[in-house]
Every structure is written in C-alpha cells, then in structure tokens.
Symmetry: C2
Subunit: 418 residues, 2 copies
C-alpha cells in the first residue's frame, strides 16, 4: 500500500463524563467512523471543563496525531470553555459568523422563543477557524488547519455531533487527506456460539488475504462477523469481498440471518412480508418480549396480528385450550404445552405461523427435573408444529432475550425450510 | 472540611476500545465508584496495547493524580502487555504468586481443562506489587504503592474488574487514605419533564446546604434526581438528607415512584403485591412492551396474569369485544376503543386492574386529525376506567417506551388514589 498511516486522537471534555454520570459513547462512535475511512485512532483522552486541562491535552495530542477531534463544551452556557480555549490556543479572536447567526435566529423564531445574548454568542467563532455547519442544533462545529494538523471541535450532544461529523467533517477530511479504500461488511449469525462458529470457519478464516481482516463481535444469542478490507480500487475490493462472503454462506449459511444492520426480527418480518404470510405468538416465559421485538420493526402490522401472553396457567387453559391434563401430567414447561399453545394461537388468531414459549426464567421455580433456565419453544404452521427445549442458564434477563431470539430463529428456519 | 482532595486518573488499555469496536463502560463505572467515596477523577486516558503508550500515560498520570487505575491487558495471551510494562516501569521482576497459582490450578481442574503454560503465567506477578485477588477469573489484580502514589491494575473483563475493585481495591484504598463521608440518594420521578420539575423544586433546590449537591439525570419518560452529600459524620448526614427528601415529597410527591434503583415496573409490582391485586394488559401500539417490562421483574407471576396484544383490529373486535361501530366511528386510536380494551381484558382475564394502549407509533399512519405520535392509554379497575391522550412525537422507539411508562404511571396513581 502506498498510503501513509493517518493518526487521530479524540479529546472528550466534560466533568459529568469524567465522574461517570454520563457514559461517553461519542468517542467510540467517532473511532468507528474514522476506522471506516482508514484513520487509526491512537489515543483518547477525557478531561474536565478546564482551560488548562484542555490546553495540556492539545499539546500532548499534536505530538501524536495528524487529526485532533474535540467533543463537548460548546453549549450556550458555561460550557463555552472549549471555544474560548481554542481561540486563545491559536491566538485568534472571536467574531460573528453571519451564516450561523442567521441559522440560530431562524431556529429561535421557528420555536417562537426570544433570543437572548447567550444564544447570539453561539454565532461567535474564532476568526481562524472554518465553521462546520450544525443543522441539528445551534452550536456550530469548528475546523482549524494549523501547522499541518487538523483540529475539529464539535458539541457533545450525540445527534448534533454525528450530523456535523458525517455531513461536514468527513467530506473535508477526504479532501485534505488521501485515504485508502476501506470496505466493511457485516455478517449476522445466530443460534451458534462464538467458539463453535470459529471452529467451523477456521479454514475459511485462515485463507483470508492479509488485506482483509475478520472480527468476531458477540452479543446475547448472536455473533456478528465483521470483515474489513483495505485496498486501492473500490470495485475490485468490493467484488473480492462478495466472493469471500459467498464462500461463507456455503459453510455456515443456515446460521446467517442477515447482513450489515439487519436484526433477526427485521429479517423474519421481511420473509413473512415477501411470502405474504401472517404471524401470531403465545408467550409465557418471554412475557411479551418476542411481540415487542417484532413490533419494534416499522411496518410489522402488515404481517403481525397479535399475541396472547399467558403468564398464568388459567390463561393457557381458558384462552389457549391447553388441557388441564397436559398441565397436570407434563407441566406448563413441556413439549405438549408449548406445542398446543402454538397451534391454538395460530388457529384462534387465524395466522399462517405462530411461535410459543414456556420456561423457567427464574430466579425461582427450578426443579431437579426442570432446572432453572429450562425453556420449551414451539413454532407452528398449517402443516407442522415443531418444538425444542433449551437450557438458557440462570440469568432471568438473558433467558428472556435468548429465548426470544431462538424462537424467531426457529421461525426463520421454518420459513426458509432449512 | 478537613480533607485534602484525593485525585484519581483512569488509564484504559486496548486497541478494540480505541477504534470503538467495544464501548468502554469500565472507566465510567470506576468513575462513579470513586466519586461515591469522595475521590475526584481528574483525567481519563485510553491507549493502545503498546508498552511505550502505557509508559507515557503513566508518566503523565503520576503528575496529576494520587491514585492511578489501569484496566485491560491482563489476559492470558498477548494482552499481558500491561503486567510486563508495569514490571519494567517499577524495575521489578516477575515471580510466581503461590496463592494465585493455587487458584488458577483449581479453576482449571474444576472445569476439567488441561492447564498450559500461558495459564500458569497468570500466577506470575511483579515482586513489588501486592496481589488483588480475583475471585471471578484467573487474571489477578495488582496494587503498587510507589513514591506515595497508588497504582491499581485490573483485567478489562467488566465483571472481573468489578469484583476486584469492590472487594479488594476499595477496602485497601480506605485503609490508605482518609476519606470524607459521602452519601448518595436517588429520587426517581416520572411523567414530568426536566424543566417543569426544575421549576417546581426551584426554592427547595436553592435552599440546599452547600455540602449537598443535586444532579438531574433524565432519560426517556423519567428524571432521576441525585443528591450527593459530603460530611464527617455518617448518621448526621444521613438524617439531614432524609429530611431534605421528605421535604421534596411534599412538593412533588405525586411524581416520585421510587428511590435508589427502583423502576416503575418494580414499584407498581410492589403496590399490586402489597394490596394482593392482579393485573392484565391489552396492548396495541406498545406491542407487548408493557408486558415485557412487568415480566422483567422477578416474582411478577404472583400479580401479572397476562395480556392480549391486539395488533390487528380483528383481534380488538374478536378477543376484546370492541364493537365495529367504535372502530368505524371513532377509530382504533380513540378514548372509546382503548377504554373498552381495558375493561374487556380485565373482565376476560378476571383481574383487579388492567392497562390498555392504542396509538400511532409510526413512521406511517398519521392523519391531520390524529398526527403521528397520538396515543390513547386507559387504566381500568372494578370501579372506574380512566383514559388519557398524549402526543409522543415522531420517533417509534421513544413513543413505545414513553407510552409504556405513562401506562404504568397511570396505574400507579390509580393504586395510590392520587
């Protein structure tokens, strides 16, 4: 590769973050965005709202990095410390920026609020900087190009920062530096643990060319595989990565439910929508969480009809026709019960498919026979009903989450006939 | 106060965190714990897995702080960089710690796994340090007391770090330094915005003594008020804060649903449990989220019976007896529909109370009459049914969340008769 490594440092400013009152998510997000365009983050610093601390951080940063990014301390009140510090640091002086003043005035008049002096001050920026326009708020971003180092300062409110960084800062950085081509692809898998997955794709992983790196990003019930490719020609690299992903489908295709930002509930929803099929659920131990996941997807009302949350056994009997003999002989956490729940909700709500769950989420309720974490899940269609059992462990929250994802995955497999 | 301000700095080590692949939650947590015992975090740094970067960070930190806390880079593999760096930094040499070796050996034999050299290496620590025992894992924490500065190094896995810090590091810090008495109290409020709340409690806030500070911690649908008191006598300070909180109840008692770590679903559950009453829900726009919140509380099966999620109108008609005339005349998002839903689920599931929701979560479905975000919520008991309407704005996720919390709060008010 003919590119120099471009280094960045992120300085976050704010007392509330320092003491942990607010968790800093900005610098992780900025780190990800920079790594997408091929910039290496070499250092991150978090300092208090004090001029001296900010100046010290700037002095240290400029010895380590080409790009120095500051967030926080650009609000309308006391927090203006960042702007004043940068103004002094670069021996500049504050002046009204007419474009920003016009924007701030417009925002206040739209909201029918009076504009006071502290608001007008937001349009004052150091003369030496270029303004990075903030279309999500009143505090502008700032761009300083001094001694061949780039300094970018943005407000700390996450959605304002993200707008400025994406729409203003990244395009300017691309003009200033020659970046390599970087392509990231994400493959979403479920129902297989990280170590089993790693074992299955070991050969494929070893065969990856050195300019394409793999990362495992596990969360409850899911593992994301992220491929990061580095090259000089976008189309060529893109084609190469497509072939590598196709090969992965041959090895672990059944575990892959989507790519990039897909969620399991979105992928299942798309399958239902495409096939013009409907879904209902009958939930016991998941207590509405499957229904919540499904209905968190916009447009889900076109395929999702509804649910009966049968948290008590009477509801299983009265509303889902689970015979008392089943409950007495096999218990509520059984193949018989959960299969009946799935079949009955499908018939009652007149849907093509149904998912049902019943289990012991805890912390109480475990027995020798059925220890804490025992779960039964059933999926039913007009032609078949399948049921499976799992042990989800002893954490209530994780049991609910994993059961919901396994239920959705069983439906996905039924829809795809795999 | 007779205490000197004790300052701490947190150094986080790890490439994955630097590029944002993992969000650093450790240093926020440590910051909170330190602030609870009266230590000020003055700086946080995040560096790569490189000896030079760690040494630079240590050199800078010891000029700023009394306590330097490192996390990350203490695993069994390449990450051992932190331990080696600290060993060199303090001109010490590695030696086997028998207690740690015994522990690591025991863990491996319990798991019936062979122990390889890299695992044995975990029992090697710099001779100059004291071991902070890790009962949650194999990598020990380390405590260095050099030139009157304390250096604490811990592995990056959050639950291991938390165990070591809470059980080993904090008690040792309390022996080493004389801390002031610090008491934190949290007051949980809902159904009132931050600025309205601030207005209501303005006088109370202004009357707070200077050694008791107030922080507003808002999230969707809720505002936490955190009081942090500083003193010399625990009982005296505790009593003083109790009186201040009691005074707050007189001003905004109706908005306070709990204290400390209470959640609205937990507080409502406790009220139901105490009164020996039962609950059911009928959810449309919240799609199971209320049910999920309620059932996320352990023990909820003693008062929560279940729900009908009537996402489609047919379910509202067939299962909840909502007349088609109601749907045709007033629509599904109406006082008439949501009141009927609440009454019918209460009767059908034979419960004392019921909550029902119906609204337009979006992104589609808004009309001139009923714009996006219009929501109706009803709460029904055996003696009354009340319904209220809200506009929750245009974000689907937030509309679902806020509607669920408002529904729970309406029930809380009915249970308390306020």
């Amino acid at each position: 590769m003919k590119f120099n490594k471009i280094k960045a440092e992120i300085i976050t400013i704010g007392d509330e973050i320092l003491i942990g009152q607010i968790i800093d998510t900005n610098s992780s997000w900025i780190g990800q965005e920079l790594s997408k365009i091929g910039v290496s983050v070499v250092h991150r610093t978090l300092v208090s709202d004090s001029e001296q601390d900010i100046v010290d951080a700037l002095n240290e940063a400029k010895n380590r990095a080409d790009i120095i990014i500051l967030t926080g301390g650009l609000g309308p009140t006391k927090d203006d410390i960042t702007k004043l510090t940068l103004c002094n640091y670069f021996n500049s002086s504050l002046a009204i920026n007419e474009k920003v003043l016009e924007w701030v005035t417009k925002i206040f008049s739209n909201r029918k609020l009076p504009m006071i002096d502290t608001n007008k001050n937001q349009a004052m920026v150091p003369e030496i900087c270029e303004v990075l326009f903030n279309k999500s708020g009143t505090a502008p971003g700032m761009w300083f190009d001094v001694d061949d180092k780039i300094y970018i300062s943005m407000p700390g409110v996450p959605f304002e920062m993200k707008t400025i960084f994406t729409e203003e800062a990244i395009p300017k950085l691309k003009q200033k530096f020659l970046f390599p081509v970087i392509i990231h692809r994400t493959i979403q898998t479920t129902s297989i643990g990280e170590s089993f997955l790693a074992k299955k794709i070991e050969d494929w992983e070893n065969d990856l060319p050195s300019h394409i790196k793999l990362a495992y990003l596990p969360s409850v019930g899911q593992v994301r595989l992220r491929l990061s490719g580095l090259g000089e020609d976008h189309d060529k690299l893109n084609e190469e990565m497509k072939i590598i992903i196709t090969a992965l489908y041959y090895i672990i295709g059944e575990y892959i439910f989507g790519l990039e930002d897909d969620t399991l509930q979105k992928s299942v929803g798309e399958l239902l929508h495409k096939k013009n099929k409907t879904l209902s659920t009958a939930e016991s131990c998941t207590g509405g969480y499957i229904s919540h996941l499904i209905t968190s997807v916009p447009g889900s009302s076109s395929y999702y009809i509804g649910s009966i949350i049968s948290y008590s056994n009477e509801i299983k009997t009265h509303e889902l026709n689970v015979d008392e003999t089943i409950l007495n002989t096999h218990g509520a956490v059984s193949k018989e019960c959960v299969s009946k729940m799935a079949e009955q909700i499908r018939i009652k709500f007149n849907t093509d498919y149904a998912i049902a769950t019943s289990g012991i989420a805890g912390p109480d309720g475990g027995t020798l026979d059925k220890p804490l974490g025992t779960v039964w899940i059933a999926v039913s269609s007009k032609t078949e009903t399948i049921a499976r059992t799992y042990n989800m462990g002893d954490n209530r929250e994780r049991t609910i989450q994993r059961t919901a994802l396994e239920g959705l995955d069983l439906l996905r497999r039924m829809l795809l006939e795999i």
